[in-house]
C-alpha cells in the first residue's frame, strides 16, 4: 500500500504542478460555459439589423413589421404562461388576457406588459430587425448601403442589412442582402406574405382576420400532466425533465473527465518509457503497485477537477442566485434531487469508476508501448473513435430515451458507462442495471488483465508500436509467431 501511495502521490503532484492542469482546470468550465451560453448570448447581443421595404402600397411593410413584432409577443406570452404554472401563488391569471388585449389594441410589447401587470419579471427580447425608410429606390441604388459603402441614418456608421422590394404587378418580393446565411428576416417575410394571403382569403369569405386571431387565442390549451410512480397525476414541470437533462450532463461530465484525464496517464507513461525509468521503478515496486498507483493518481486527479468545478459552480450559482429566475432555481433543485437518488447515484458512481478504470488501463497500456506522443497517436485513433460514439447518442437520450438503439448499444461494455447513465431516468429494471454493471465489471477485469500484460511487454521487454503491428499482421495472417516481448 505504501508504494501505491508513493507512486500515486508522485504522479498526482507531477500532474497538478503542471501548467497544463491549471489551464485545463480554469479553461474547461469557461469553454463549456461558452459552448452552452454562446448561442443565446449571440442571439441576445446581436446588433439591430436595419431593413427597408420598397412597396408602393405599404401593406407588405406593415405585415412584415407585425410579423417581426409577433415573435417578441409570443416570447413574452410563453414566459407569462410559464409563470402561471411554476409560480401560481404570486401570479395574477388576468395578466395574460390583459397583455393580449393591449397588443390587440396596438400597444408594443413593453407597453402591453406594463398594462398587463406592472412589475412582472419577464425578459423582453430585443428587436432584431428595425425598419428604416428606403435610402434608394433601385437595386443598384441600394447596393452601396448593403455593402456598407454608404451609411444609413445620420448617427454612426450603420449598414443596411436587407431590402425587400415588392413587385407592384405580381406581388412577388425580392429579398436583397449581402448576407446569405441569416434567414430570420427572410422567413418573417415569407410568413408576412402568407398572413396577407390568409387575410385576403378570410376577407373574401366574409371573415375578419382579427376575429380569427381572437378565436385562436381563446382556443383551449393543451395541459400536460404526468402519471407518477404511485399513480398520482400532476402537472408536468421543468423538474420532470431534470432527470433526463441531469443524466446527459453527468454522462457528458464522465465522458469529458475520462477524455481529459486519461491523457495524463498516456503522457506520463510515455515519459517514463522515453526517459528509461521503468527498470528503476520495477526494482522498487511491483508491476501491480505501479499500475495501481498510476491509476489512483489520475483518479484522484479527476476527483480534484470535479471538486473544483462543482464547488466553483455552487459558488457562482450562489453569487448569481439573486438574479436567477425561479424556473432555473427550480430546475437546479430538481437536478440536485436527481443526483441523490440511490437508484441513480450508485450506478452512476459505479459507471464512473469502472469506465475510468477501463479507459485508464487502456491508455496506460498504450503509453507503455510508445516512445512519443506521435507514436501514441497511431494507436489512439481507433480508441478515440470508440470514445466519440457515445457522444452521438446524448441528444437521443433526451428526445427518445427509450430508444431500442440506445438500449442495445448500452450493452457494449466500452459504451456502458455513458449510456447506462443516460438510460437511468427511464426507471430501468434492477436486473438490467445489475446486468449492465456486471458486464462492465467483467470487461474491466479483462481489460486490466490485458493492460497488465501489455504494460509488462512495453516496460520490461521494450515492445513498441512495431510489436503491435506485427501482432496484428500475425493475427490477420493467422500466424502464431511469438514476438520478442
Amino acid at each position: 500500500m505504501r508504494n501505491i501511495y508513493l507512486i500515486a502521490r508522485r504522479d498526482y503532484l507531477g500532474y497538478v504542478t503542471s501548467w497544463g492542469f491549471w489551464l485545463g482546470l480554469l479553461l474547461t468550465p469557461l469553454i463549456l460555459a461558452a459552448f452552452i451560453l454562446a448561442p443565446s448570448l449571440i442571439e441576445n447581443n446581436q446588433p439591430v439589423r436595419y431593413y427597408t421595404v420598397i412597396d408602393s402600397n405599404g401593406a407588405f411593410a406593415s405585415q412584415l413589421a407585425d410579423r417581426l413584432e409577433s415573435r417578441r409577443e409570443s416570447d413574452v406570452e410563453r414566459q407569462l404562461f410559464q409563470l402561471a404554472v411554476e409560480a401560481p401563488e404570486g401570479f395574477d391569471p388576468q395578466s395574460i388576457p390583459r397583455f393580449r388585449e393591449a397588443i390587440a389594441a396596438g400597444a408594443d410589447v413593453e407597453t402591453a406588459l406594463e398594462q398587463a401587470k406592472p412589475g412582472l419579471v419577464v425578459s423582453v427580447p430585443e428587436r432584431s430587425y428595425q425598419f428604416i425608410p428606403p435610402p434608394a429606390q433601385t437595386e443598384a441604388g441600394l447596393a452601396p448601403y448593403l455593402l456598407g459603402n454608404e451609411s444609413i441614418g445620420e448617427t454612426g456608421a450603420r449598414r443596411l442589412f436587407a431590402a425587400l422590394i415588392v413587385n407592384p404587378d405580381t406581388g412577388e418580393v425580392t429579398y436583397l442582402s449581402d448576407d446569405v446565411v441569416n434567414d430570420g428576416l427572410k422567413s418573417a417575410a415569407r410568413w408576412a406574405i402568407e398572413d396577407e394571403v390568409r387575410a385576403k382569403v378570410l376577407g373574401a369569405a366574409g371573415l375578419d382576420p382579427a376575429d380569427v386571431q381572437a378565436a385562436v387565442d381563446a382556443a383551449p390549451r393543451i395541459i400536460e400532466r404526468k402519471v407518477g410512480e404511485g399513480g398520482e397525476v400532476r402537472q408536468v414541470t421543468m423538474a420532470d425533465q431534470a432527470p433526463y437533462i441531469a443524466a446527459v450532463a453527468i454522462a457528458f461530465l464522465l465522458w469529458f473527465l475520462i477524455f481529459s484525464v486519461v491523457n495524463y496517464l498516456l503522457s506520463g507513461t510515455i515519459e517514463e518509457r522515453s526517459n528509461k525509468i521503468f527498470d528503476t521503478l520495477l526494482t522498487s515496486a511491483k508491476l501491480t503497485q505501479l499500475l495501481t498507483g498510476k491509476l489512483a493518481a489520475v483518479f484522484v486527479l479527476s476527483l480534484t477537477l470535479m471538486s473544483f468545478w462543482v464547488v466553483g459552480g455552487v459558488l457562482v450559482a450562489q453569487v448569481a442566485g439573486g438574479g436567477m429566475p425561479a424556473s432555473a432555481a427550480q430546475f437546479l433543485s430538481a437536478f440536485g434531487n436527481v443526483l441523490i437518488q440511490p437508484g441513480i447515484l450508485i450506478p452512476t458512481l459505479l459507471s464512473f469508476v469502472l469506465g475510468y478504470l477501463m479507459f485508464g488501463a487502456i491508455f496506460l497500456a498504450l503509453g507503455s508501448l510508445c516512445e512519443s506522443v506521435q507514436e501514441a497517436q497511431t494507436l489512439m485513433s481507433p480508441l478515440l473513435i470508440i470514445l466519440m460514439v457515445p457522444l452521438l447518442f446524448f441528444s437521443m437520450a433526451i428526445t427518445d430515451p427509450k430508444s431500442p438503439i440506445l438500449a442495445g448499444l448500452s450493452w457494449f461494455p466500452l459504451f456502458t458507462p455513458f449510456l447506462l447513465i443516460l438510460r437511468l431516468p427511464n426507471g430501468l429494471p434492477l436486473p438490467e442495471v445489475a446486468g449492465l454493471i456486471g458486464a462492465m465489471a467483467l470487461t474491466t477485469v479483462i481489460i486490466l488483465w490485458a493492460a497488465m500484460r501489455v504494460y509488462r511487454a512495453g516496460a520490461v521487454h521494450g515492445a513498441g508500436v512495431d510489436s503491435v503491428g506485427r501482432w496484428f499482421k500475425g493475427l490477420v495472417g493467422g500466424g502464431s509467431r511469438k514476438g520478442s516481448g
Binding site: N3, G14, E271, N275, I277, T280, K286
Partner: protein, 326 residues
C-alpha cells in the same frame, strides 16, 4: 552460505534468440565483481533476471538466498544501463522518492538526499528541475538515487558509460567508498580498465554464455605471462634456462649497444622474478629486465574472441546439418 546474488543455469530466450544461455554465477558478500562482456553479450538481461525484472525461462535467480522479490530488492540498489529520471522533479525529490520506495521514512529520505547532494557538489541544485541540469549532473543524481537507501548489494549496469574521465574517476571513488561501507558490488562494463582497478573477481560472458569466472589473477593466467631479459656478450639464454624449467626465445632485434633481448615464457606457477633469478644463477650478464603481464583487455579479447569463433563454428555446423537434413 547465503550469497547476495546467485544465478543458476539462468536462460532467457526472446523468440528464437537465446540472450542468456545457462548462466551460473555467484557474487560473494563483500566482493566487487566485474561483469564483463561485449555489447549484446547478455549482461543487462542477466542483471534484469537477477533483479526479477524479468523471469528466466530456465534456471533461477536468487538475491540473499531468496527469489528476487520486493522485500529482498529493498537491500539492492540498481543503476540500469538505460538511465533516466523524471525531468520535472527536483534532484532532492527524486532521491527521496526512490529511497522511500525502498522503505526509508520521508524524513530520513529527505535528510539523506540533502546530505548526498551536498557531498556530490549538487547542493545548489537540490530544488532545481532535473531538466535544467547538465547530463553529467543528472547522471550523478541517478547514481545517488541508487545508493541513497544504503543498499547491501549495488548492481550497476554500465555505470561508466556516458561519463567524462573526471566523473568516471569520481564514480570509481564512490564505488570504493560504498565497498568500504560494506556493500557488495556487481557492475557490468566492457571497459576493462575499470574492472582491473576495482574488481576482486570477474565474470565474462559472450553470446549469452559464461566464458570466465574467477579472480583477476586467474584471468591473467589464462593467457600466460612472460618476462623479457636483455643480456650482453652474446650469452645464450635459450641454452642456459631450460634446466631451470624455463623456455627462452631470442628476439630478432638487437639493441644498438649490443644487448640481445630474450622472451621467457612463464607457465602456470612461474613468475617473472623466478625467471630472472634462474638467468642470474645461470651466469647470464643481465642488462635489462621487463616483466610482461597480460592485460585484462587481452584476456577479454582472447576469451570473447574464442567464444565468438566457437559460436560462429556452431552456427555454420548447424546450418550444414539442417541443409543435409533438408
Amino acid at each position: 552460505m547465503v550469497h547476495p546474488l546467485e544465478l543458476e543455469r539462468a536462460t532467457k530466450r526472446f523468440g528464437g534468440f537465446t540472450a542468456v544461455n545457462g548462466l551460473s554465477m555467484t557474487v560473494s558478500e563483500g566482493s566487487i565483481v566485474g561483469f564483463l562482456g561485449p555489447n549484446g553479450a547478455g549482461k543487462s538481461t542477466s542483471l534484469r533476471m537477477a533483479l526479477g525484472v524479468m523471469a528466466p525461462d530456465d534456471g533461477e535467480a536468487r538475491l540473499f538466498g531468496k527469489p528476487p522479490r520486493l522485500e529482498t530488492l529493498r537491500r539492492v540498489g540498481f543503476l540500469p544501463e538505460e538511465r533516466g529520471l523524471y525531468k520535472k522533479m527536483s534532484p532532492r525529490a527524486t532521491i527521496a522518492y526512490f529511497a522511500r520506495l525502498k522503505g526509508m521514512s520521508a524524513k530520513a529520505a529527505f535528510t539523506r538526499a540533502d546530505e548526498l547532494l551536498e557531498r556530490a557538489g549538487l547542493g545548489g541544485f537540490a530544488r532545481a528541475k532535473i531538466s535544467k541540469l547538465s547530463k553529467g549532473m543528472a547522471q550523478k543524481v541517478q547514481i545517488l538515487s541508487t545508493l541513497a537507501h544504503e543498499p547491501d548489494l549495488l548492481i550497476l549496469d554500465e555505470p561508466f558509460s556516458g561519463l567524462d574521465p573526471v566523473n568516471q574517476a569520481a564514480l570509481e571513488e564512490l564505488i570504493v567508498e560504498q565497498h568500504k561501507r560494506g556493500a557488495t558490488i556487481l557492475f557490468s562494463t566492457h571497459v576493462m580498465e575499470h574492472a582491473e582497478r576495482l574488481c576482486s573477481s570477474i565474470v565474462m560472458v559472450a553470446r549469452g554464455r559464461k566464458v570466465f569466472d574467477g579472480t583477476l589473477e586467474e584471468a591473467y593466467g589464462v593467457l600466460g605471462q612472460a618476462a623479457r631479459l636483455a643480456v650482453t656478450g652474446g650469452f645464450d639464454l635459450g641454452a642456459a634456462l631450460p634446466p631451470a624449467g624455463f623456455v627462452a626465445t631470442r628476439e630478432e632485434t638487437v639493441d644498438s649497444d649490443g644487448q640481445q633481448w630474450w622472451r621467457v615464457t612463464l607457465s602456470q606457477g612461474q613468475d617473472a622474478q623466478q625467471a630472472l633469478r634462474a638467468a642470474i644463477e645461470a651466469g647470464a650478464p643481465i642488462a635489462g629486465f621487463l616483466p610482461e603481464l597480460a592485460r585484462l583487455r587481452e584476456v577479454f579479447v582472447s576469451l570473447v574472441g574464442d567464444a565468438e569463433a566457437e559460436d560462429l563454428r556452431r552456427t555454420l555446423e548447424q546450418g550444414r546439418t539442417e541443409k543435409n537434413h533438408a
